[in-house]
Symmetry: C2
Subunit: 463 residues, 2 copies
């Protein structure tokens, strides 16, 4: 996959978008770099996913103008001294592969001619002000979430929901880099190191391969804090290490993998029991993935396996159906089974639930299900994560009434025997295909035996 494949794919995507929009002009800005502690010291630049999708290149400060066949790449004014300080974002040759006419962004108002211009939500307040000014709009703000054009968003969603061949290739590349990082992470783990030693090992795989992180890496022995970005903890022999680490390609495509492995290289009996249960839940969910299946049913399939397993283990008491209906499993798995994956790790989350929820569907009120990010019927070309988990969250035990959890079915004594399981999550990236599905991250070990064997190899090598 080369970058020019993506500019070629982007051209096709623009053709569809133009048809869907008719005579309504659209503006899709790339976004500008944002200062970290002062304007001249920016965070690593990352273009907007909508821009990446329809242009195929990362161009700070640029914008795509799309008005039927009149499609232009609007570039910011350049300073003749730029070449002294900066390498060009892309070469002239690569720019030419977009097939777009080049224009100056200062001409935006002339292009718009006073017409309403559709624009996706813009992340940065400064960008919203900048483009409002460039369009000569009275309001000093453009692209607020409340102020977006429904027709544009529906058109974007209809395109980005199903990944074309170019996108699928990029998702595979990102998945492969993440697989490699997780393998090295497992093999680098040993008692006495810190969590951040494993972060360094895993993220340096990305840097060496030309990837970045698709989201803040979670590498923690305190897996029960769902988005724990602290990395200072010591790895002790009885701990499980939960690593939710995913690569992003230089073209913007994400991967999202979680594995949980024992610091010592060997699961305890209790860890192995719960791990195996989470894995069974994951396999049951992945098995269901195919076109036409409702994603919420995939979620419920995992929840059922989890609930039944917890009854078998004696942690819950009662009938599976009733427990499931009351959402009791959310004590241990408060989040949804997964989400869309694409140019964003939660793909198109900037559009709110408009992308994740089919028209007419909305979030459930019940705790747990309320965190489900996706409720559509699956279509070939969609990519989703499947990521069940088991966590012992002190807050939910201490204050179940806060979220309406009914814990009467919980066998507290039995659960106390699993105290060495703080948090387990197993997550893979799955592409829906015409025939069913393809697990993009299949190359990464996940059975308890396979994880232990991979970790043992390293231990032997370093003896």
């Amino acid at each position: 996959m080369t970058v020019t494949h993506l500019t070629s794919a982007a051209r096709t995507r623009r053709g569809v978008l133009a048809t869907l929009l008719g005579d309504r002009p659209a503006l899709i800005p790339a976004g500008t770099a944002r200062g970290r502690n002062y304007p001249g010291n920016p965070y690593p630049y990352r273009a907007s996913s909508h821009f990446l999708y329809f242009v195929g290149l990362s161009l700070p400060g640029a914008a795509l103008w799309l008005d039927g066949d009149d499609q232009r790449l609007l570039l910011p004014e350049s300073d003749p001294l730029d070449a002294l300080w900066h390498a060009p974002a892309v070469s002239e040759e690569l720019l030419a592969t977009t097939g777009l006419r080049m224009g100056n962004i200062a001409r935006l108002q002339t292009l718009a001619q006073g017409r309403a211009v559709a624009c996706p939500p813009l992340l940065s307040g400064s960008d919203r002000q900048r483009f409002a000014a460039l369009l000569g709009r009275a309001t000093a703000d453009l692209g607020h979430r409340e102020d977006v054009d429904a027709a544009l968003l529906e058109a974007i969603i209809s395109l980005r929901l199903r990944h074309d061949q170019a996108a699928q290739g990029e998702l595979r590349r990102a998945a492969q880099a993440s697989v490699c990082a997780h393998q090295q992470g497992m093999q680098a783990t040993r008692p006495g190191l810190l969590e951040r030693d494993i972060v360094a090992t895993m993220e340096s795989v990305f840097t060496r391969e030309g990837f970045s992180t698709a989201y803040g890496s979670i590498v923690t022995t305190r897996g029960e804090v769902l988005h724990n970005h602290e990395h200072g903890g010591l790895l002790a022999s009885g701990d499980l290490l939960l690593a939710d680490v995913g690569a992003e390609s230089d073209t913007g495509y994400a991967s999202d993998i979680t594995r949980t492995w024992p610091v010592s290289g060997q699961f305890s009996a209790t860890q192995r029991e719960i791990y195996t249960l989470v894995l069974e839940a994951q396999c049951a969910a992945i098995d269901r993935v195919r076109p036409g299946i409702r994603y919420r049913d995939v979620h419920m399939a995992a929840a059922r396996v989890l609930t039944a397993g917890l009854v078998d283990l004696g942690i819950f008491e009662g009938a599976v159906d009733g427990l499931l209906e009351r959402g009791c499993h959310a004590l241990f798995m408060p989040h949804g089974i997964g989400h869309l994956l694409g140019l964003d790790v939660h793909d198109m989350e900037d559009l709110g639930d408009r992308a994740g929820y089919a028209p007419g569907r909305q979030r459930a009120a019940q705790f747990g299900l309320s965190y489900l990010r996706l409720d559509r019927d699956l279509l070939a070309g969609m990519a989703v994560t499947i990521e069940p988990g088991f966590y012992q969250v002190p807050l939910l035990r201490a204050k179940p009434e806060l979220v309406g959890l009914d814990l009467r079915a919980l066998n507290v004594t039995r659960l106390s025997q699993f105290a060495d399981v703080r948090g387990i999550r197993i997550e893979d990236d799955v592409l829906v295909t015409e025939a069913g599905h393809e697990v993009l991250t299949e190359a990464l070990v996940k059975s308890p035996d396979a994880v232990e064997q991979l970790m043992a190899k390293r231990a032997r090598a370093s003896e």
Copy 2:
């Protein structure tokens, strides 16, 4: 140095600030996390340097309220479910070491009681809007650069210009981490690798030690592009690798080191000649650093050594004084000799030249000197970088008229013999002391022989 040392230092700093401000209340926000591609996927959080300075802790969304003796840490509304998703930013115990009263940020308008509130520039448009709303201000924007309180800024500058003991300790820690990264970078370099392999080696030192990068790492064989953040280039045997990589401590303090080393492990004769000249210029500049010296004179001392050396090498023809006066050296060193260093790598650059330039002084018009970021008389406790360089910038050769460069003194034939020197920079961090100065980054090799010896050790070890 522990974090509680910093909350203790911050308390002292607040006392001085309150005295300087009199009865004028000030608001110093920490800033909120900023989305990378959507709001829920933020860049790594980094609190504002002003907040870090006066509180000593990183607390997303918080703000310091300072009104004489009434000093409060205003915290954002917390969601009872936060503990499910996130680890607390800091522990209650650590929060208590600030000695601040805790308050709710929603009470800001009540605290202000309609008085004018001084506020430093806020980086994020969303934060500017948020605090304007919290204060009930008619304008939807607070803390724009044009809208800041001069008395507050002068007070902050007078404090932050001279580093107290706590700050000096943190600058030393950051310098030490950077020294270690550069040593490992040199030893990891060999032909056939990519620039990003060295980035991975150097940055993983920071991750392992609990540091982050203070700015986007520059690791490039194309040193002539001054801020080249591309890392895809191949390391070839005759290349020089320029690495401008600095750590930031978890308390926010920066370091900023550049070294330039030969990919092969051995400088060519021409590379060694220019490298030695740049090093001589650096030593001459560092030698001058002491209280009472004007920083621009430090810059000119380096420029003089560089110019004289280029005359000796036959690259320039003519009298040193005249060449220097006409700014001819800016063809090869277009930037200034360095800048303030502290919580920001260009310390307080968010305040524009107000921090870097003493009252009554302003940027020179002449190309080269116009990029000098600091023109103050040095004071004990200031930290500065000293970073002369030599670059062959095609743009400046091709279009000298663009910047008013006079190239008549250039011996083009002689210069063409130095084609294997694209860019060299040597940069250290220097603390001004009562007695003169302390080079914080002294432990890092820089003579050509020492660099070659360090690189040879690795080569031998891997044989």
